[in-house]
């Protein structure tokens, strides 16, 4: 799986699509780590085109959140569909990874 990337100056938007799982998660996580290492620690993962997430996908988001916060930034998610929201809610991870409806809302204070 590939993912789209858009550099919007104050932040970078990453948009994976399809299944965000054991196959798709590592490349996205690696890209997040590269971005954070390059000083880009305000990140939005646009999940609008993701129809399924598993624990590996969640792991990549949490790992990305952790590295972004360590560098004084943040990782936020936007556009999550029903399945993604259900999994976030089930694991209570929506407590630390609040889903925003749109990318615009996610970056409102950046």
């Amino acid at each position: 799986m590939s993912f789209e990337e858009a550099d919007l100056g104050t932040h970078v938007v990453l948009a994976p699509e399809g299944k965000f799982n054991l196959v798709a998660a590592p490349p996205l996580k690696a890209r997040i780590d590269d971005l954070v290492a390059a000083g880009r620690s305000r990140l939005v993962v646009d999940l609008g085109a993701v129809d399924f997430i598993d624990s590996s996908g969640l792991g990549a988001l949490i790992g990305g959140l952790k590295s972004a916060r360590q560098q004084g930034g943040d990782l936020r998610i936007a556009g999550a569909g029903d399945q993604v929201r259900a999994v976030l809610k089930l694991t209570n991870l929506d407590r630390i990874l609040a889903p925003y409806d749109t990318v615009e809302e996610a970056v409102h204070d950046w």
């Binding site: 799982n21 054991l22 996580k29 598993d54 624990s55 590996s56 969640l58 792991g59 949490i62 790992g63 959140l65 952790k66 916060r69 399945q83 259900a86 999994v87 809610k89 089930l90 694991t91 209570n92 991870l93 407590r95 630390i96």
Partner: protein
């Protein structure tokens, strides 16, 4: 066959029982293409049978070892090449030579298992007599070495899976008044799901309790299973001296470094039941998939705590419920929930079909796991069922 069962043959039997999709096919395809032969195969030689576990131009399956050429190849350490099988008295009368596909040419390289003994051979077959040049023989030996590596990886994975299975509780807990069963079906040889149960003396001083655990470490495979083993062992240790809330909190502290360093997290559901009264203390660390069900309905045993291994601090305090005599406690992993479209109502509808007092807990977990596996679960699948007797 009159040959003694050697270590290599036992090893081949074990490998043939658990053949992963695709793992050996690539090398066999490569051999077929490089040698331009109509047939290429990896044959494992067991006690009495040859198992064709990867092949091109020849069906996979089992046949008597004495009807194969490879059973001769594994008795030596070098390539066996036969220009024309029809003219070699050792092989002229075997079925593949006298009948279809009427093979003439054979070249096979023995492949060793972890024991150092040969477990099988990579072979190429042709329908016309031919000979291999020196470089071709070297190439065949290289492909054999490549397969040895694949076999070694597979054996390691199989052993890791066995170790993990052997850590699961197998016997009924030494406490009266309760029936419990669990089952894990990892997506690969080993995985991040596990269940556990054991008897503890509750620190409240009110007697013995059955502690039941279902854990799910993010990810699949060997790496996830290593972390799962750690969480299991640490939780077991802390559970001896603490109530369930404190035990989970202490487990989080003890495993924090290892979870964070590996970028893993673990959901956990831990319950502690007094079979005599049905009193149940539990902690739900981001697992969310425990219910008490009866024909009257179901209720979730759910809390809002995070899984272990998150980048922010959390606390875990126990909640309480009572397991009625006609109720069933069921905990599953998300691999089960996924095939139920992540819907509790759908899960309960399916569960109602097996809320049968005639079914044992063992049968109930088998039904749940078999259902998930037969509905194309892609994740590890685990179920735990408990009721008072």
């Amino acid at each position: 066959m009159a040959m003694p069962a050697s270590t290599g043959r036992q090893e081949a039997e074990a490998l043939a029982r658990n053949v992963p999709e695709e793992r050996y096919d690539r090398v066999v395809r490569l051999a077929q293409a490089i040698f331009g032969a109509p047939i290429a195969a990896l044959n494992l030689i067991g006690n009495d049978s040859q198992f064709t576990v990867a092949s091109i131009g020849y069906p996979k399956g089992e046949m008597p070892a004495e009807d194969s050429v490879c059973h001769m190849t594994v008795q030596h350490q070098e390539i066996l090449e036969v220009r024309d099988l029809r003219e070699d008295e050792r092989f002229a009368s075997i079925p593949a030579v006298t009948g279809p596909p009427r093979v003439r040419f054979y070249a096979g390289v023995p492949v060793r298992g972890q024991s150092g003994q040969n477990v099988g051979a990579l072979c190429i077959l042709d329908l016309v007599p031919r000979t291999l040049g020196r470089q071709q023989r070297e190439m065949l030996a290289d492909l054999g070495a490549l397969l040895e590596r694949e076999l070694a990886v597979q054996e390691e994975m199989d052993l890791a899976g066995q170790v993990q299975q052997l850590m699961l509780p197998t016997s009924a807990p030494d406490i009266a008044g309760v029936e419990v069963a669990g089952r894990v079906q990892p997506a690969r040889e080993a995985g991040g799901d596990y269940f556990d149960w054991f008897v503890v003396d509750d620190p409240s001083g009110t007697g013995r309790r059955l502690q039941m655990v279902l854990g799910d470490v993010m990810g699949k495979g060997l790496a996830a299973s290593l972390i799962a083993s750690e969480v299991r062992a640490v939780l077991r240790g802390h559970s001896r001296y603490s109530d369930v809330g404190a035990a989970v909190a202490q487990t989080s502290t003890t495993t924090r470094h290892d979870l964070e360093a590996n970028n893993r997290f673990s959901t956990l559901w831990v319950g502690r039941l007094d079979p005599a009264t049905g009193a149940l203390d539990y902690v739900d660390a981001g697992h969310g998939l425990a219910v008490i069900a009866s024909q009257r309905g179901y209720r979730r045993l759910y809390q809002e705590y995070l899984p272990l291994g998150m980048p922010i601090e959390d606390s875990w305090d126990k909640a309480s419920d009572v397991l009625g005599r006609d109720e069933l406690l069921v905990v599953v992993s998300d691999g089960v929930f996924d095939v139920l479209d992540d819907s509790f109502d759908k899960a309960y509808a399916k569960l109602q079909e097996i809320l049968d007092p005639e079914l044992s807990c063992r049968q109930i977990v088998d039904r749940i796991v078999d259902y998930a596996v037969s509905h194309a679960a892609t994740d590890d699948v685990t179920a735990l069922a408990v009721r008072r007797t």
